[in-house]
């Protein structure tokens, strides 16, 4: 672990040893990390590897979750990137209000969001009726599941992307313009690459949020069952022993994208 900066900070000039309070930081940190890792150790040690066979319903849940999450991310990127860019580059007088509204969507508890989606998009709402008229049911359908994932993940992506765009000095846009490049070219070749670390972080967060969304989906998209709802059903029907296969699948699907994005962003950083 990163013990070096702490050591350097607390180094007593005469002895070259860390000052007493800082000498405890290392052991305390190890303890805290160990505490946080207890659930993972529990999962690893109690898994019966020979009987780790997912059921047919589990595979359906995986397919549903991955498909819908990918689709949700496309929507979130397509809509969230311009919004984040607009929030980062304009200085509207309504900025505080816009920020508050964005935070509201982020801070709303998932269960509350699910209930509000049912109110806004459910079969008895004007939007729900209009959608149903066009042949699109927004309750317990793939479209409803997608909707739940978008609402659950978009605020995370937009906030991270806004921060990323804000951290790109406006000066570079100006220079690109004086070099004969229009706004679109400088967005693609200057702003986007300079913001990629933050954008990758936002994308990773959105992926994990959308994939893991339970509270929103439970209310408006109990069907089709994604991984979280299916895990809940497995637990209810068959007990804790039945969740292992899907739980491991959850990890295997959830982690690679954030890790790859992180590696990609950092790797590109070096040129």
């Amino acid at each position: 672990m990163a013990g070096e900066p702490l050591l350097a900070l607390g180094e007593a000039a005469t002895t070259g040893r860390p000052a007493p309070p800082l000498r405890l930081a290392g052991p305390l940190g190890v303890l805290a990390l160990g505490f946080l890792l207890i659930p993972y150790a529990g999962l690893a040690f109690t898994t019966n590897w020979r009987a780790l066979a997912p059921s047919a319903g589990d595979w359906d849940a995986v397919a549903t979750s991955v498909g819908a999450t990918l689709a949700a991310l496309v929507v979130v990127i397509a809509g969230g990137t311009p919004l984040a860019w607009w929030l980062a580059t304009r200085r509207p007088r309504l900025r505080v209000l816009l920020d508050a509204l964005l935070l509201l969507t982020l801070l709303t508890p998932p269960l509350a969001m699910g209930l509000m989606l049912a109110i806004a998009y459910g079969p008895y709402s004007p939007i729900g009726r209009m959608a149903a008229h066009l042949g699109l049911e927004l309750s317990n359908t793939p479209a409803a599941f997608l909707l739940a994932q978008i609402y659950a993940s978009a605020p995370y992506y937009v906030l991270a992307a806004r921060g990323a765009f804000e951290s790109v000095p406006a000066e570079y846009q100006d220079i690109a313009r004086t070099l004969g490049r229009g706004p679109w070219y400088s967005f693609w070749h200057v702003s986007l690459p300079l913001a990629r670390l933050g954008l990758a972080t936002g994308l990773a967060l959105a992926w994990v949020r959308a994939l893991g969304e339970f509270g929103v989906a439970l209310i408006i998209a109990y069907f089709p069952q994604g991984i979280p709802v299916r895990l809940w059903v497995d637990l209810q029907d068959s007990g804790l022993a039945a969740v292992y296969p899907l739980l491991w699948a959850f990890f295997l699907i959830g982690l690679p994208l954030p890790l790859l994005l992180g590696l990609w962003a950092r790797g590109r950083h070096a040129g």
Binding site: R177, T178, L179, G180, R181, H269
Partner: protein, 359 residues
């Protein structure tokens, strides 16, 4: 000796040199500015921090809305200008060659070949694949220059090209930059607060209070600042308030003494004035030494900084401090009594009020 205040927006005294590009810009925001001057070869726009130099450059680049010429009405990406912000502004995520090739069109291979060829001409081909943060300040400046040159600009805008460099490096970087621009025949406007850079330029424009208060060849401008503010921008440190007692007699109340003036009277007796003296013009003498008696004052050495090529001496005369520069070997000690001769012909006098009202 008497310097007349510059008439409002007066064109420069014609002097030999490159063809002029006339600038006539008006801005309301973020700083109110009226700038009428000429760019001749390497032109220094000398102004204090916050005077609006960067604003003026950004307006010329089309990055800020302004009325006037040149390039009126053209959006930034259509203007034939190169813009080098403070610190050169290389794109940090692109290697050197892609920075140089940023404005070029064509295949990646062709752009790379063109960029490397440009880097070769200035001896930086080895740096083509380096990232900008691995470059020295001078190298960055040069790469930014190549990047801007790719568009064959009719005017190059440099914002504080020597800021952040130590004085010796700054002088070398500036000399190199000016030589390259002269060789390439590109007119340039460099915003700076550094009088040394201004002295190296082909032409100088002084920006103060939202106006260009004086312009001309550096030698002429440095010799005859048009007003107190101009003198201050040019690095004059001996600037004092005074009152004209008689056509050729100046009361210097801070020092409690009177100075004789040479030449025609600068104003009517009783006028509030400002006078200045180049630091190199004051002569220091031992207290009882022989020498001129006119404008001979006595004072006490209050500060003395000795450098390898000169000494800068502060002499307290009454309540005022006069700065004199002299050869280092003749530097007096702090606390020593000295005689100071202020040559009448070296004194510059201006009206006490600024020549032009700000804004």
């Amino acid at each position: 000796m008497q310097a007349e205040p510059a008439p409002a927006g007066a064109p420069a005294q014609a002097h030999a040199g490159p063809a002029a590009l006339a600038v006539d810009l008006r801005l309301a925001r973020p700083v109110a500015l009226t700038a009428r001057f000429e760019v001749r070869g390497f032109t220094a726009l000398l102004g204090a921090t916050g005077a609006g130099k960067s604003t003026l450059l950004r307006a010329l680049a089309g990055l800020l809305a302004a009325q006037g010429t040149p390039f009126s009405g053209l959006p930034a990406h259509r203007r034939p200008v190169g813009y080098l912000p403070q610190g050169a502004g290389l794109f940090p995520h692109l290697p050197v060659w892609r920075n140089v090739a940023f404005a070029l069109d064509g295949s990646r291979r062709a752009r790379r070949a063109a960029a490397v060829a440009a880097l070769e001409r200035v001896g930086l081909a080895d740096l083509a694949t380096r990232m900008p943060d691995a470059l020295s300040g001078g190298q960055r400046q040069l790469v930014a220059l190549l990047r801007a040159q790719a568009r064959h600009p009719a005017l190059l805008l440099l914002d504080e090209p020597t800021a952040g460099l130590d004085p010796l490096t700054a002088e070398n970087v500036a000399a190199d930059l000016i030589a390259r621009l002269r060789a390439a025949g590109i007119p340039a406007l460099a915003a700076t607060h550094d009088a040394t850079l201004a002295a190296m330029a082909d032409h100088v424009a002084l920006l103060h209070g939202g106006d260009v208060i004086q312009e001309g060849a550096p030698a002429a401008v440095f010799a005859s600042p048009a007003c107190r503010e101009a003198a201050s921008l040019l690095g004059w440190r001996n600037l004092f308030t005074a009152r004209l007692r008689a056509p050729d007699l100046l009361d210097w109340p801070a020092a409690g003494t009177t100075l004789r003036l040479a030449g025609p009277p600068p104003a009517l007796p009783g006028a509030a004035l400002c006078w200045g003296l180049p630091a190199g013009a004051a002569r220091l003498l031992p207290p009882g030494a022989a020498g001129p008696r006119e404008n001979r004052l006595t004072g006490v050495v209050s500060t003395c900084h000795v450098l390898s090529d000169r000494a800068t001496v502060g002499v307290a005369i009454g309540g005022a401090t006069l700065i004199a520069t002299l050869p280092p070997l003749r530097a007096p000690a702090v606390g020593e009594d000295v005689g100071v001769v202020v040559p009448a012909e070296a004194i510059r006098v201006w009206p006490a009020a600024p020549a032009r009202s700000p804004g």
